[in-house]
Amino acid sequence: MARKYIAETDITAWLKELSGDNLIIAPVVETGTVVYRPYTSGSEVELVNRPVSSPKEAVFPQTELLFTYKQDKTPEDPGRTKVDMKEATPDRATVFFGPRPCGTRGITMFDKVYNCGKQQDTYYVTRRENTAFVTIACTRPDATCFCHSVNSGPADPDGSDVLLVPVQGGYVAEAITDKGTELLAYDLFSDAGKREQEANAVIDKAREMLGDPHDFTDAESSLYKLFDDMEFWDEQAAKCINCGACTYLCPTCHCFNITDQTAGLSGRRIRTWDNCMSYEFTLEGSGHNPRPTKAHRLKNRLGHKFAYYPENNEGLVACCGCGRCIERCPSGVDIRAIVLAAKERSDVQE
């Protein structure tokens, strides 16, 4: 379908239009750091620097209210244990504005977990259906970027409803889905015309900057081979400090924890991000922990992304190559290096 063009100066107007019947989440600079925030007229969206946090919060907020409850008792019958419940329904139409393709593509990994035949997560599905992603193609990959090593690229439309490609003075916009088409149905847009070539050039340049991809083929089998090779994992995990920065910044990590909170007669159940790098993640009631050390936990994180998940999903690697985990890791743990090391090690073993 024909690509369109919007001038940089019209972006604000567009957002204004969209915010009519949508909640808009867009990147803003908050005391120097780029994060996603609800867009309110007047807030300045940041479209050049990539947000530190990942777009997954659009469909998988760090804290999700599941339902509220209240004990319904009366002075006549104080012993009554009737409980009223009110389910939270995140059905607000939302436009999630300004992620990079890597992040948006990460969301598609969620679909296979929370929105597949056998498994439908109401909260996720509702949010997913009500959220449109307006993605901005990547023009300047960093040393930590490796989307091209996980079968993606700087302009991968996967997961996006609209893909914007920055060009001189504005953006070339492409509707990827019908939802996207609607979002472009404003006269702020003109035909892209020959800006299309410019857009393609921008993308090619970005791809070129990425250099040669890493060869992650057979990572799956290598990791399975090394499952019991704790010496290897201890070495790899040595510098890991076992925080959750990687998992919480990761666009594809999707584990959660559920908590009931009570205050007086009323209370609520919330779902919050959980992280497999923490000790409690697998701590059992008995006190036994199948993943007692950080090595076990790092192994699981790697394994899940490059072996277990792919095994269940036609070889799809559960890593979008955004490199956030590398860039923001306090210890500089490099997931790429570990996967490559694993391959090397398992080859040696044969």
Binding site: T68, G79, R268
Partner: protein
Amino acid sequence: MRIGVFVCHCGSNIAGTVDCPGVAEAAKMLPGVVFASDTMYACSEPGQEGITEAIREHDLDGVIVASCSPRMHEPTFRKAVERAGLNRYMLEMANIREHVSWIGKDVELNTNKSVELIAMAAAKLSQNSPLTPSRFDVNKRVLVIGGGVAGIQAALDCADGGLDVILVERETSIGGKMAKLDKTFPTIDCSSCILGPKMVDVALHPNITLYTACEVDKVDGYVGNFSVKIRRKATYVDWDKCTGCGACMEKCPSKKSLDSFNEQVGTTTAINIPFPQAIPKKAAIDAEFCTKLTKGKCGVCAKICPTDAINYEQEETFLTEDVGAIIAATGYDLFDHTVYGQYGAGRYPDVITSMQYERLLNASGPTGGHIKRPSDGKEPKRVVFVQCVGSRDPSVGRPYCSGFCCMYTAKQAILTRDHLPDSQAYVFYMDIRAPGKLYDEFTRRAQEQYGVQYLRGRVSQIYQLGDTIVVRGADTLAGDQVEIEADLVVLAVGAEASRGAPELAEKLRISYDSYGFFMEKHMKLGPVETNTAGVYLAGSCQGPKDIPASVAQGSATAAKVLGLFSKDQLESDPQVASVKQPRCIGCMKCVRTCPYGAINEIEDRFKNPKADVIATICQGCGLCTSTCPQGAIQLSHFTDNQILAEVNALCPPFMDESFE
């Protein structure tokens, strides 16, 4: 949880300013509360009945009584719920009397506050868990520290009660201060005549083991099971052999030794038995003055001793005694008057302390009971007594009244007139404090019958003039300055904490006041107990006391110990800390802060260091709990979650209006 709430009217004490039925009604809407009612007197027999019935009828597993302070009736209601089959720690109280009805008159505010206090209690209660005390055996032996009259009395009463008693005295003989006294007020009967027999009883009593020239070195353990390390000082005399014949004293060449029993009035021999009635009557060498020990020559005593008891090589030894209770009766020491420059700072030989004067008066003292002044041995004609030397004087850090100086000064004045009928006695005093049986009569006798001259005022200066001592002071009643030329001046020095008292207190893990006197458990209701279970106080170690008071306390502590030992096993309070081992990272911060040494470092089966609480030593202060960064050590009944529950009840972490 099924909680029952009982709101007490306390007659009109609470109901006067709190809508009790309203509170009960509101309480029904609190989480976990399945029953609530109001009652006229919750603590009364019918009130308690109501509680126990409700527990059975509504099968409650937690009870809240909203009434007076838990400090008042917690034990009462704990017993009540226990009678109904609940664990006593499943009770919480809401203090709606002392903290509500009695401090405010606004019924609306009071009622609302009462409900909130109940809400807090309910929140905490929902976190409570049943606690059961553990039992442990008692070692029915008692240690008495200090062989003064208080310690002697305590030891004898305990021993007569059938207990094994260990009596430790740091001097070579028991008797304490009382043994030095000549007569005692208000009866003027001979001190050693009434103390002597008791000392002998101690020596002969089959249940008493006496350790003199010994000090407590270390105390481990806890009530019922203390282990006490005792240091026996070197006396250089084998007491098993020494018969106390005294031959060594006669022959000992170094006669300039310090005579502390006689308060340095005169001197004694390097080897000596402190006084004729000493118990045990054994000789000991003062290493400082013995030429054999200092210079290596002499050895006369060794030659003379008929039983070869002398042993210059003797060294201090240690022994350990296990006991179930400890009585501290370490008495007091005398204030050092030399800090008073205006009183001559000890430069004038004829300005002496009241205790030195006792020795002068005493028939077995250095002067054989003849009053001769130290400087020239003349009989004094005018004797001036100065009271409150080191008492009631903040300027020397002794703001308190020593209590007995007024009385012994009156006694000494009377005795002076007895011994030297043609002498004159003057007493400078601030107030006469004689609040005991026959005490005031006694001081009046001194003035009226014995013509002792009492001058109300402080002495400003004392100085030597020729061979007389001039005492200058104010007579505030006459309203002018007086100057008296005296031959002898006696300073009524006050009492201060016994030397080494604070160190001992720390060994015993009891507290002491800023003067070093030991702290009792409760000023009024626990005068001989301490805050450390199984440790008791008798006599002046707790504060200055006269003889009858000290003896009474000696007996009181004995009664306490006999009471404690009346059971074969003790119950330990289950409100103690315990360690959740999996959470403990073994940093041992708790071990370092615990005031009782109740936490040990142990190893778990993986050889990881872990903290471990000895329940019987833990006193339940919770310092460890607030010290532990990861919350691994928790004080039962006051856990983090229990306190947080109360906080959250008052300040809910979130408000959910969605149902409002």
